[in-house]
Amino acid sequence: MARIGVFVCHCGENIGGTVDCAQVAEAARSLRGVVHAVDYKYMCSDPGQNLLKEAIREKRLDGVVVAACSPRMHEPTFRAAAEEAGLNGYQCEMANVREHCSWVHEKANSTTAKAIDLVHIQVEKVKRDAPLHPIRVPVSRTALVLGGGIAGIQAALDIANAGNQVILLERSPSIGGHMSQLSETFPTLDCSQCILTPRMVEVARHPNVTLYTYSELEKLEGFIGNFKATIRRRARKLDEKICNGCGVCTQKCPVKKIPDEFNEGLSQRRAIYIPFPQAVPNKPVIDTANCTFFKNGKCRACEKLCAAKAIRLDQQDEIVVREVGAVVLATGFRTMGLERFPEYGYGRHPDLIDGLKFERLASASGPTAGVIRRPSDGKIPETVVFVACAGSRDEQKGVSYCSKICCMYTAKHAMLYRHKVHGGKAYVFYMDVRAAGKNYDEFVRRAVEEDGVKYVRGRVSRIYPDRGQLVVKGVDTLLGGEPLEIRADLVVLATAVQAQQGSEEMAQKLHVSYDNHRFFAEAHPKLRPVETNTAGIFLAGACQAPRDIPESVAQASGAAAKVCGLFSRPELTREPVVAVVDRQAPPVWSSCVGCFLCRSACPYQAIEEETIRTRKGEVVKTVARVNAGLCQGCGTCVATCRTKSIDLQGFTNEQLFAEVMAI
């Protein structure tokens, strides 16, 4: 026979003002199994909690119902109090008579009647609550950081500096990401490479960091604290350990005319190449799609010329499997392609470029050594038009959101141009200038006031070539919507920031959610901004939303702090709300018939196969088993099971039917 206690909270006037709490307690007393029922002003106060504890001890209660606020509010409080009094915390339930009753209905008998029903439902539930124990899982203290841009580098360094192991994975041949391509950075105009390169070297040399460049994540299995990452290390076709990075091969390779990715196609590279002079690791890679040897089996020039004999043309991809406890997603962003702008000629004209190309033109290490020259004929442009919001904030033809970084980098571009080309004219077409950040608006004002950049508030409707120049047709809304035509030598579009290529597949691989723009979704937009909905997977940088460098770095450090917090404990505890498959004595063993419908329903791959054997080792049957580490407790498998052999702890079939019967 159950011994249930019911505690009805007035919450001051919040509940007591609408619901007759004394009557609720009285009604509760008449429910079968209830041996104790009281009402009290504030159950969550110390005296209130003591009331609960004393009753558990004195009345030897085996279940309690607290009729008060939402369980989302105070369930942990009362479960802890119950534990202190020696009752299993999972045998404490809450009836939500505040948010679901007193706050949403008028004072009336019907409201009190509803409160009584809500208590009754929970009494029926708690009677069937089994004592549960949090699940403990060990943690492997190695973090996997996906993406070697500034966010990934920062997260890797912070985690490694706290004494943990880190695997830093980068898809391209070098770490550095977009930041390594930038010329100077706003709002200080310090050189991007000067501040980034030391970090790149530091992370590569760090004793706790394993760097896998030119590598991709194939598969991630497991759960928080216990992931298993399968990594493909693509073949560079050379032995990195032997190669001394002399670069002779990259100068002698006969295949020369491949557009250089790092310079955004403004220069050309060979089929064997080092992406850029400061690349980490500073070792070449063979681009097998363009290499003559891999196309027709002849050449081997690099092999012959390599003094260190490091070239390995027969090298194959390598699959590495590593156990990791946490994952930081820092896969970054890409920008909208110019082919998305038919009204600007699909970007077919060489002098119509995007912001990243301009960065390379302005970079001292770029193809023009920092001199702004237009791509078509190398002429120094006398008039440059910058177009902000190219694709951003355009829900019909582009993306609906603000790409956030463009206002600032466009101001920087215009400023750099004015510094480098004296007497040149710079126009910026904009919708709004959004410069909310430390010293950001001052920076934009400086571009306007000190550097004489002409800001035109209006959109550009067409850009077309005409007699060696580009005609930019726009409108000046501050001139009453006057159409403007500017003949420019170079046009720079601040194209929208978009989610990285393949982020959908990445999200599916990791079981994290993404928003409708394919950016990875944070667990809570305000309070859990660096976590995903999947425990143990964290976010850093522009893979979550458009971000600038300081924000990416801050978020990376935040994600690193979360990882370090996770790694600071030897094991993890988890809510025991997980599914279990029926097990019973022979000869039945289990009512599960092994149809595995549950497996196809489970979003977490938590259903495994288990072979039941007799003591002699004979196979009896193959049934389902739930991996408690993977199970998140949604219960979809329970509803799918045809033989009712699988049940969800805390929300059992018996409990739910009993709850319905209470209404």
Binding site: P342, G345, Y346, R462, Y464, V471
Partner: protein, 298 residues
């Protein structure tokens, strides 16, 4: 092959040359043009400015007559007619109430949906009939000018790429011509303001003609009678705006195809142009007398 045909007012009037070349090409391809019986004006650029119901009823009446005559597809070579027919069709499909009102006005059921074809769409469909019959490849470099109404708004018209259409360029290429990349393919020529605001039309046309000439074209090719009138008949106003004269003829796409098919210039109505087609090696047909005193008018 047989296709419904809605010439519209321009093709029997001020753009008779367009109508003649459509008919000539269809004849050469042995395509029967089945004229919509008793067709009326679509209301074009004026009805929608003054009277919404009329702007729907006039095209609806044309489409209903076509449906009643059993025509599943109707070729509307005039871009403005094409635009009005398609727009009205879309609007009526979206509103039961409007449809009922319009049916009362035209005193006919709106009828089965009729597929409206513009001239480029139609020529594209006939391309397999055209290529084997090309007698004299159209070896010219031209600028294809699409104007507004064949391609915009994209979500209503759903034809070609609205910002950078290519269908006409492809047609010209199929009959042996070359086309230039230029910036004014879909800029507006001023259309219906031709009469009440001639100088505006002159300015708009001037930019189009200048850019086409600057990009190395020997002619502009159009698929719209209004574009043709504004660039050809209004060349006087254009030249006034430019401050210089430009010898750049304007041809209908059907004339281009017709020339390649070896149809006579007269049958294609070339003699009706204000800007004479003067290409090296061209022996002008006996149009001099017909065009007597027809220099571009300012």
């Amino acid at each position: 092959m047989r296709v419904g045909y809605y010439p519209g007012c321009s093709l029997v009037g001020s753009s008779r040359d367009f109508g003649e070349s459509v008919a000539a090409v269809a004849g050469a391809l042995e395509v029967e043009l089945a004229e919509v019986p008793g067709w009326n004006c679509c209301g074009a650029s004026s009805a929608h400015a003054l009277d919404h119901l009329l702007a729907l009823a006039l095209p609806a009446s044309v489409l209903a007559s076509a449906a009643r005559a059993g025509l599943g597809e109707v070729l509307a070579p005039c871009a403005s007619c094409y635009h009005r027919l398609v727009s009205a069709q879309r609007e009526l499909a979206g509103s039961e109430q409007l449809r009922r009102q319009v049916e009362r006005v035209i005193d006919m059921p709106v009828g089965a949906p009729v597929k409206v074809l513009n001239v480029l769409e139609w020529l594209e469909r006939c391309i397999d009939l055209i290529t084997p019959k090309v007698k004299q490849p159209f070896a010219r470099t031209v600028a294809c000018y699409y104007g507004c109404l064949l391609v915009r708004p994209a979500k209503v018209i759903e034809f070609d790429r609205s910002e950078d259409p290519v269908s006409m360029d492809q047609l010209v290429a199929r009959v042996g011509g070359k086309t230039v990349e230029w910036g004014f393919k879909t800029e507006c020529c001023g259309a219906a303001l031709s009469i009440p605001r001639t100088p505006t039309v002159g300015q708009l046309g001037a930019r189009i003609v200048r850019n086409a000439a600057g990009s190395g074209a020997e002619a502009i090719v159009v698929a719209c009678p209004m574009c043709h009138s504004n660039l050809d008949m209004r060349r006087g106003a254009i030249e006034e705006a430019l401050g210089t004269s430009v010898d750049l003829p304007v041809l209908f796409i059907t004339q281009v195809v017709g020339l390649a098919l070896g149809i006579s210039e007269r049958a294609l109505g070339l003699q009706r142009h204000f800007v004479e087609v003067r290409w090296p090696g061209r022996t002008p047909t006996a149009t001099a007398s017909a065009s007597g005193g027809a220099a571009p008018v300012r």
